[in-house]
Symmetry: C2
């Protein structure tokens, strides 16, 4: 019975994977640009009635790899993830092979225990000797967990009766906060209008937090009958890598008894560094923290920890449904090891092994060195930018986000009129398009607030060298220096 | 610069993975039971300051694998997933290696196009020539997407203003519906009280749907001022594998203009089989469908499709936040290829490749054969059960869930008093405990409604032979025949 030979046939394809294994030489392309319509026909994506030959399957795998972006390339600076840790990757292969779900000790004994240890370690870096936590499918979900737990602590009967039995609830975040707060407010029934944004100064750090937030909280209480639910401070904003002043915000929250969430999905990595963890001073006063080790720590997508100071099993009381088919109470071990009911998911991927194995391999020191190295490389890049004409920073980086305009020769030296800015806003898309077609490197750009399109360079991978950074600046100049105003 | 040798050092660990690769001989243990406290010390989980040696890391990997449950073992019947498809596994290894996020064409060109093709194929099997969809991190999330889209269609301003501006919303599902509906109602702010369960008959199929549901809808409208939001019918219930009569439920929904969601997370696989797809007759009349190919189709955890009849980009209008740093509109391709904003997640794992590659390898016919084979094996098991004393079915299986009591000799032949049932309820936990300690096989049990603990055997993997099923029955007898009443 069964399908004999599936394993043998399947495994011959592992060859294909090896195309992308090992460190990428910088001479290779980061991406191979093909327009959607053309790529669609190149890939032969249609699903057949009858299975295809091994030779064809291998061709498919190679095409998939060939036309995918090489995010492990040392010249990939495009997202808040980059590089590839090979120990983590082995952990990911083992995870896939073991194919289990992180909900009961019965079915996931190793990972129930391991998740606990990994989350404990992350909490210790925050400064919590006790607490709780769970891995979520991404930082947006972790932020939503924060909203739901804040709601559950304030009004536990909402779980049963819905939002109709409580006043309107308001979430505060800075205008630099991640959009998942807005998405979460919509999804959880609070409404996007009830996310109130706190203004920031030119450096994108909230101005005079105590004043601003106190005013907002008061306004909220007195003018509209709404209740402040939580403040979500950001440690490492998505675009500019800025850190909200957590200690000051914690004072405001403490004064008003409001849940403090810190979205450190991106900036959490800095906690590893003795030199740089001051950026997150006060994080230990938060009620909850989102921290994505798949970003700066390179654990691989996805690995997002939702961490909690609470010791009253708020995760359980907010989320549990007590399904007896899955969570039995007459097993030969204590039910507290069946941790799955504390999530809103049922089946849940194992996200701890990759981080655990990497940590075992390079230790806390290895992770710290990587973080410090990323800061140092960022400093090098900024210094080199200052030496060149045509590179202008939006702000001195607090973190490893380098946000800058490249001003091509034809736009230099004149008055900075509205037309100048409008022309400048066309530079980044042009350079990016040329870069992608050439495949030489990848870096993101975006408009932001009152600012026209600028580049955001992100530095994470320990594979990035000074040569790569020099190349980065040279390449921007090569691709953009002939820009002509329209 | 960088960390030279990380790749080489990491890759030597791939050896460890091979411990679990290839088909598992049945003589191996399915699991190696160790109590949590003991396992904790065996695994040496603590995260060190300094990285460990390659030899130690390899030991760690082997321990992780050794003490994990072998869900690919042909005698693993414990969950709604089992077995291991090696083509899918290669797809998963490639996915991990490429380490990208499924949100923009820029960063995920192949997978943006591939997701579209795979979802289209799943929709075709439902009977939809057009429509929409997205992969979610698990069936519970897919069901939550259904709730949110139903809400958004009915009251689009909830997204902005919150649930306070609309009447109480009620979700209907049968008492056999999955608990994620309840979790979802809590998480999305509707409240668990507003999930109204429809009673089922002895066969766990809703009795007289049109009457019951019409009554419920009327009650809801007239007695409490609440508004019916959606009906979630189940195609393949979690415990009993029962199918709600979708066509009849569709009539009710159509009559009342209520969103019909079909939770086919488990039963969707039957759509592949011409012989068995009648179980889901009427599914094409649904507004949305949840279907988890990581279950019966063996794509690997997780792979959950949320499928939608809608063609008005309801996913986009319900979920989009329009973050310009990620979703630019001045790129060199059309913005519709940046599909990520249609999710509530930001970063999103690539879940399409594993299913796509498996489908390419064995074709629709190969998948159909597997599904038919699982039905046939189930039929064989049930026939064999009827031949033996001591096996009593809860119901004749509609699907591949075989729910049964094993009645040990000492409990046979007498009157079935309350004491009899109480004693019988102790049998499954005892047998399960002995089974797990022995490691010979794994099958789940649970109490359910008025029924005391019974086994639920799930048949998925094409590796399962008739010999395995004979062994299954023999082993239950071996482990349970000496049961003594307390």
């Amino acid at each position: 019975g069964g399908e004999i030979g599936g394993a043998v046939r399947g495994w011959s394809l592992v060859d294909a994977v090896s195309v992308r294994l090992g460190d990428t030489p910088v001479c290779e392309q980061v991406c191979q640009w093909v327009a959607p319509e053309e790529l669609e026909s190149l890939l032969e994506l249609e699903l057949p009635d009858t299975g295809e030959s091994e030779v064809r399957l291998l061709q498919h795998c190679r095409q998939v790899i060939r036309y995918s972006v090489n995010t492990a390339h040392p010249r990939f600076f495009n997202q808040l993830f980059a590089g590839l840790d090979y120990h983590a990757l082995v952990g990911r292969f083992i995870t896939e092979t073991l194919n289990t779900s992180q909900y009961t000790y019965e079915i996931s004994p190793v990972f129930v225990l391991m998740e606990d240890v990994v989350l404990k370690k992350l909490r210790e870096l925050i400064g919590w000797m006790t607490g709780d936590g769970i891995f979520c499918p991404g930082g947006s979900m972790s932020n939503m967990f924060a909203i739901n737990l804040a709601r559950h602590r304030l009004y536990p009967h909402v779980k049963q009766r819905g939002l109709w039995v409580v006043p309107r609830l308001v979430i505060f975040t800075s205008e630099e906060g991640h959009y998942s707060l807005t998405k979460g407010a919509a999804f959880l029934g609070l409404g996007t209008d009830n996310v109130w944004t706190v203004k920031t100064d030119g450096r994108f750090v909230p101005v005079d937090v105590s004043d601003t937030e106190t005013n907002l909280l008061h306004a909220c209480l007195s003018l509209s009958g709404a209740v402040p639910l939580m403040v979500s401070a950001t440690a490492g904003t998505t675009i500019l890598g800025a850190f909200d002043p957590l200690a000051e915000i914690a004072d405001v929250c403490q004064q008003h008894g409001v849940w403090l969430h810190v979205d450190a999905a991106w900036g959490g990595g800095a906690l590893l560094s003795k030199r740089h963890r001051h950026l997150l001073a006060g994080i230990e006063r938060a009620d909850s923290v989102t921290w994505n080790p798949h970003k700066m720590l390179m654990a691989g997508l996805q690995c997002s920890a939702f961490l909690l100071k609470d010791q009253t099993d708020l995760l359980g009381s907010a989320h549990a449904a007590g399904a007896r088919y899955l969570f039995q109470t007459d097993r030969c071990y204590q039910p507290r090891y069946d941790t799955g009911d504390r999530s809103v998911q049922c089946g849940r991927r194992v996200d701890c092994l990759k981080l655990w194995l990497m940590w075992k391999a390079i230790g806390t020191r290895g992770l710290r060195d990587r973080v410090n190295r990323a800061f140092a490389c960022t400093r090098y890049l900024v210094t080199e930018m200052h030496k060149r004409d045509g590179f202008r920073l939006l702000m001195e980086p607090q973190f490893v986000n380098v946000c800058f305009w490249y001003i091509p020769p034809c736009l230099r030296g004149g008055e900075e009129t509205p037309d100048f800015w409008q022309q400048l806003g066309r530079v980044a898309p042009l350079v990016k398009q040329r870069m992608v077609v050439k495949g030489s490197m990848m870096v993101g750009y975006q408009p932001h607030g009152k600012h026209v399109n600028f580049f955001r360079q992100i530095l994470i991978s320990p594979q990035v060298t000074r040569e790569d950074l020099d190349f980065f600046l040279d390449e921007i100049e090569r691709l953009g220096s002939d820009f002509q105003p329209m």
